[in-house]
Every structure is written in structure tokens, then in C-alpha cells.
């Protein structure tokens, strides 16, 4: 097991080199450069030239890439060209925001998705099955930005129930420890902040969680239908076990493996793909940070952040793979 983990961690190296080359090439392929976006349209050629020189943008690509890689290996994520701030320090604030949002969205997706999927499978072809699966189809097909805007329109503008943007109202004060606001408000027993943060999380959480929720519901349903036909379910029934034990223990644990795969993949995707949601809800997370960096051609920010997201993505997948063993003892890691 330990050997397996170590081997998987070593496999991380080529993956990360690949990711770094890809991001480096892509960001440099887009027209425009940070010097121009910093100086604006009115700058003279000479000013542009000198800033480019100063930022090292005139060096050959291979030199620039080498410099980036060298810094990363030493644990230095670099400084933002635009804000001149340390990227690692910025990520320390942005990452918790994104992770908090992602975990919230995933909990929502997993709980609702699995419960809906199980009920739909147990009551196959019932009205619940039909409605929830039609809902799931809508869920997967719904563009996040549209859903987000509609929610803001209904719940913030019309009903004025939920805040349209941000992580917390400016009137609330919270002593930050971990930068996970929900966690911090629990740790400091600040219930006003907890409530406020929770309300801020609701809409972006739902917007972000809708697609995975729909995928998880559909996956759970089909997997459960498959498992419910198995002989060991008949055995469990023949043993006189209560129905909920047969469904939620005997069937669900077996049906969970493909669902777990989906959860792992979606979790990784959400971490890196919250760009739309974070932009719509002005969520101060990594997605929005990268989005703004791409607009400003802030090369170091884009490169470093994407690398960090890639590491998290691979880690989440590794964790998923390790969790398989819990759900299926037949799996061996070699």
C-alpha cells in the first residue's frame, strides 16, 4: 500500500512537467503580453520595450521556461506581474475560498445525487424516478452561467433572500485562522459570521454542484439497478434483513464504486473549473484569480496556479483510488 502511494507520487513528476509545458506554451501562444496590458494603449514603443526587457520577456522561451521551472523546484511560485505580490501568499487566501466552495458544492451534489439515485433505482419507473431523472438531464445540460444568473435574478434581485456576490458581507467581522470561513466561524464560535458565510455559499454552491449532482444521481441509479439484481441482494432479503439495510448497506456499498470514480473526477474538475461560477458570483477564489491573470497576461500567476491545481487534481485522484479499497476489499494495490 505504502509502496503504491510512493510510486503514484513519483508518477506525479512527469504529469507535472507535462502540465507546466502545456500551460507555458498555451499562455505564450495567446496574442498580447503582460507589458502591453500593464502599460495600456497609450504607451510608446520604447516604454514597452524596456518593460519587456525588465520582465525578461525578450529572453528565448526555453530560458523563460527554465527560469520558471527552477523557481518552482525551489518552492518559489514567483510574483504576480500585475500586483507585484507573492503568488504563494495570494494563493493562501484564494485556495481556501475555492476549496470551501468546492467541498460545499460536492457535499450538496453527493448527498442529493446519491439519495435521489438510490430512490429512483429502488422505485424504478415511478413518478419519483421519472421526475428526478428528467431533472438530472436538465442538470447536466444546464449552462452554469445561465443558472447562476437566473438564481441571482430570482433570489437576490427579486426576492432579496440571498447575497449575490462575495464570500461574506462587509459588515461582518471574522478572525481568520484557516481562511476557510465556515470553519473559522465555528472555531471562533462566531455564529453571525457562520450564517452569513453559509448564505453566501448557497447560490454559488448550488450553481457549481448542479452538474456533478446530476451525474452522480444518474450514475448511482444505474449502478444500483445493476446491483439490485445480484444474488447477494436476494440472499440479504432471504435472511430477513430490514429493507433499509438491504438497500443502503448491501446494495449501496457495492454500487458505490463507479459513483466514487465520478465523485473523484468531478471534485478535481470543480477545483479547477470553478472559473465561471467564481466569476458570476465574484467569488474571490482561484478560478477568478486565474481568469483575471489570463486577461492581464500575468504569466507567472497563470503558470503557477495551474500547476498547483494540477497537483491537487492528481492528489484527489490518488485519494479516490485509495478509497476504492474500502468499498471493495477485493482490490489490491500493486
Amino acid at each position: 500500500m505504502l509502496k503504491y502511494i510512493v510510486r503514484r507520487l513519483f508518477m506525479l513528476i512527469p504529469v507535472l512537467i507535462g502540465v507546466s509545458i502545456l500551460t507555458f506554451s498555451l499562455i505564450h501562444l495567446i496574442p498580447g503580453d503582460p507589458a502591453r496590458s500593464m502599460l495600456g494603449d497609450k504607451a510608446t514603443e520604447a516604454q514597452l520595450e524596456s518593460l519587456q526587457e525588465e520582465l525578461g520577456l525578450n529572453d528565448p522561451y526555453i530560458v523563460q521556461y527554465g527560469r520558471f521551472l527552477g523557481d518552482i523546484v525551489q518552492g518559489d511560485l514567483g510574483t504576480s506581474i500585475q500586483s507585484k505580490e507573492d503568488i504563494a501568499l495570494q494563493l493562501l487566501h484564494k485556495l481556501p475560498a475555492t476549496i470551501e466552495l468546492t467541498i460545499f458544492a460536492m457535499i450538496l451534489a453527493v448527498v442529493v445525487g446519491i439519495v435521489a439515485g438510490v430512490i429512483a433505482a429502488v422505485k424504478q419507473y415511478s413518478w419519483f424516478d421519472n421526475i428526478s431523472m428528467t431533472g438530472a438531464l436538465f442538470g447536466v445540460s444546464m449552462p452554469i452561467f445561465w443558472l447562476g444568473l437566473m438564481m441571482i435574478f430570482v433570489f437576490s434581485v427579486q426576492l432579496q433572500l440571498l447575497p449575490p456576490s462575495g464570500r461574506m458581507s462587509s459588515s461582518i467581522e471574522l478572525e481568520t485562522i484557516t481562511n476557510f470561513f465556515l470553519l473559522d466561524s465555528i472555531l471562533t464560535l462566531n455564529w453571525a459570521a457562520f450564517k452569513d458565510t453559509f448564505f453566501h455559499l448557497l447560490m454559488p454552491g448550488i450553481a457549481l454542484g448542479t452538474i456533478p449532482m446530476a451525474i452522480i444521481a444518474r450514475m448511482t441509479r444505474s449502478s444500483m439497478l445493476e446491483v439490485m439484481k445480484q444474488d447477494y441482494i436476494r440472499t440479504a432479503d432471504a435472511k430477513g434483513l430490514k429493507k433499509h439495510l438491504v438497500i443502503f448497506q448491501h446494495a449501496l456499498k457495492n454500487a458505490f464504486l463507479p459513483v466514487l470514480t465520478v465523485i473523484g473526477l468531478q471534485f478535481g474538475l470543480l477545483l479547477g473549473g470553478a472559473v465561471l461560477t467564481e466569476t458570476i458570483f465574484s467569488w474571490p477564489g482561484v478560478g477568478r484569480y486565474v481568469y483575471l491573470a489570463v486577461l492581464g497576461r500575468d504569466y507567472p500567476v497563470v503558470q503557477s496556479t495551474i500547476l498547483i491545481i494540477a497537483i491537487i487534481f492528481v492528489m484527489v485522484n490518488l485519494l479516490t483510488d485509495l478509497l476504492y479499497k474500502y468499498f471493495d476489499p477485493r482490490i489490491k494495490y500493486e
Binding site: 429493507k243 448491501h250 456499498k253
Partner: protein, 332 residues
């Protein structure tokens, strides 16, 4: 309970499946009794309704599409068909337990044997977890699993087929049922293991004094363990008699076909006899006797008349027009 009152009495049971392609009459009017402590064999080809009979008794017919449309299943004098699923769950396990055909797939692969044994015991018996574990160890010992203490922690995939079937039997016996239904318990096992498992059934029955319904397609198994036997064909009983009597004086052409198709070990090679044709489509049974199209002794009347079951000898019943003039018809 005396020998006169049967433990289980199935009367005129009809279990049908309502599919898009038509009504499948999987069980179409069977009657039988099981006395306390005896072993009844139910024999027939695949699709003859043996397993559906067993599932009907336990109330585990998947519905829809399946439905028991007629009949009674009296267990200890109470009709099980009048019971709710909740009441049935209290009967499954402590009263009627079941062992299934394929031990490779009948145990849940993601739970330890301990969990699967304990949950059955805890669901029905008023025991602490510790007591239940002691009971589980006792059961594994009883069914002949070596080193039970360590084996409890194993998962099904860490057991061989024969050992898994022993675990299944231990689970079935865990709440001391008065009736054990074994649905082809040895079919998936190789011959030496088969013999061991049958031996185990016989020993358990003696020790625990329970009745067994042994469902099988193997007349060898029947001769080994059953007191009485019912031969089924296309959802109906074809013949019913004491086991020894059946092997000596079996009358129904289908029974005779089954007996003749057992390979015999003789010095000179003989061609193995087989019953020609295939079992009928249960959605559209032929008019008259359903075995007629495959019967060597078919008569014109067989194609139009569906015979009643008749007692041809003491405690020997046959459903065949060849014996129409025998004693009396016993069922409708």
C-alpha cells in the same frame, strides 16, 4: 407438532409473471406437503418452476412482474400469502431459511463473513454482539470451517467455493430455522465437494431436526438425501412419491426419461439416453399435456386433454393419461 400436521403445506399454487411478451405461468398449480424433520426433493429441468416455488414460499417473487395469483402456502398452520412484507421478514431466517445455488455470487463481496453472519443473528435473535459472535464461531465450527476465529474476518473472495457454501449454510442455520430450502446447493460445486456438502445437510438435519426442501435437477442428489420427491414439469407436478419408490416404480414418462438419462458406469459403452426436444415456452403451453410434444408414449388424447394428478399407488401420484384409469383424481 405431530407427524400428521405438515410443517409446510402448499396448495394449488399459481405464480405467474406478467411480461410484455405475455403471461409466463412459471408455477401453475402445485400441491405438496413437508413434514417436520423430513426432506422433500423437488426435481425438474431449468424453467420447470422449482426455484419460483421456493421464492414464492419465502415471498421473494419480484413484483412486478411476478404475482402469486392463486393458492395457499400454509406454514405452521398460517397462510404466508396473507402476511405483510414486514411480517415475512420475521419468518425469513428464524423460521424458513434458504441456501442458494451459486455460493460464488450469493455472499456479498464487500462484507466480511463475520458481518454477514452477525447481521442475520442480530436481526432475529435477542443477543448482544458478543453472544452473536460466539454463536457465529459455533456455527462455523458446526459446518466444518477450520480456524473459524480467523476465518470470520475474511471476505468471501478469500474462501473456496465449497467453503463459501458452508458459510451460506452457516448463515441459513444461524437462527435455527424449522425449514431449510436449498435451491440447487451443490450444482456449482465439484463432485467431491458436492458429497461433503450433502453429508453436511444430512448431519445438520439430524442434529437440528429441521425439514429440508431440496431443489435440484440432479436425481443423484435426490437419491442421496430426500425422503420424498416431487418431479416438476412446466410449472406443474408430474409425479410425487417416496424416493425409493420413485426410482423403482416411477411411472411418468418424464420421470423415466430423467432416470434413464443418468450416466451409468458399465464396462461396455452405451449411448446416453436423453429426453428429446426442449422444455415448452411457458407463455404458450400446448393444449393438453405440456409434456406431450416430447413424450415417447404420446396418444391422441394427450394433445387435447390436460390430465389430473392421480394416486396410482399408496402415496404415489402421477399426472399422466397413461394411468387415467388408476385409483382417483386428487386435485382439480
Amino acid at each position: 407438532m405431530t407427524q400428521d400436521t405438515p410443517l409446510l403445506e402448499v396448495k394449488n399454487l399459481h405464480t405467474h409473471f406478467f411480461t410484455k411478451a405475455g403471461v409466463v405461468k412459471a408455477v401453475d398449480g402445485i400441491d405438496f406437503k413437508v413434514n417436520p424433520g423430513e426432506t422433500l426433493g423437488i426435481v425438474g429441468e431449468s424453467g420447470s418452476g422449482k426455484s419460483i416455488t421456493a421464492m414464492s414460499i419465502l415471498g421473494l417473487i419480484p413484483s412486478p412482474p411476478g404475482k402469486i395469483v392463486e393458492g395457499e402456502i400454509n406454514f405452521k398452520g398460517e397462510n404466508l400469502l396473507n402476511k405483510s412484507q414486514k411480517q415475512m421478514r420475521k419468518i425469513r431466517g428464524p423460521e424458513i431459511a434458504m441456501v442458494f445455488q451459486d455460493p460464488m455470487t450469493s455472499l456479498n463481496p464487500v462484507f466480511t463473513v463475520e458481518k454477514q453472519l452477525l447481521e442475520t443473528i442480530l436481526a432475529h435473535e435477542n443477543m448482544s454482539k458478543k453472544q452473536a459472535k460466539e454463536r457465529a464461531l459455533e456455527l462455523l465450527n458446526l459446518v466444518g470451517i477450520p480456524d473459524p476465529e480467523n476465518r470470520l474476518k475474511n471476505y468471501p473472495h478469500e474462501f473456496s467455493g465449497g467453503m463459501r457454501q458452508r458459510v451460506m449454510i452457516a448463515i441459513a442455520l444461524s437462527c435455527n430455522p424449522s425449514l431449510l430450502i436449498a435451491d440447487e446447493p451443490t450444482t456449482a460445486l465439484d463432485v467431491t465437494i458436492q458429497a461433503q456438502i450433502l453429508e453436511l445437510f444430512k448431519r445438520m438435519q439430524k442434529e437440528l431436526n429441521m425439514a429440508i426442501v431440496m431443489i435440484t435437477h440432479d436425481l443423484g442428489v435426490v437419491s442421496e438425501v430426500c425422503d420424498r420427491v416431487m418431479v416438476m414439469y412446466a410449472g406443474k407436478p408430474a409425479e410425487f412419491s417416496e424416493t425409493k419408490h420413485l426410482f423403482k416404480k416411477g411411472k411418468h414418462p418424464y420421470t423415466l426419461g430423467l432416470i434413464n438419462s443418468i450416466p451409468k458406469i458399465t464396462p461396455d459403452k452405451q449411448k446416453l439416453e436423453a429426453i428429446d426436444g426442449v422444455p415448452p415456452d411457458l407463455r404458450s403451453l400446448p393444449k393438453g399435456c405440456s409434456f406431450a410434444p416430447r413424450c415417447k408414449h404420446v396418444m391422441d388424447s394427450c394433445l387435447s386433454n390436460d390430465p389430473d394428478i392421480r394416486e396410482v399407488d399408496d402415496d404415489h401420484f402421477v399426472r399422466c393419461l397413461l394411468y387415467e384409469d388408476s385409483k382417483k383424481a386428487v386435485t382439480t
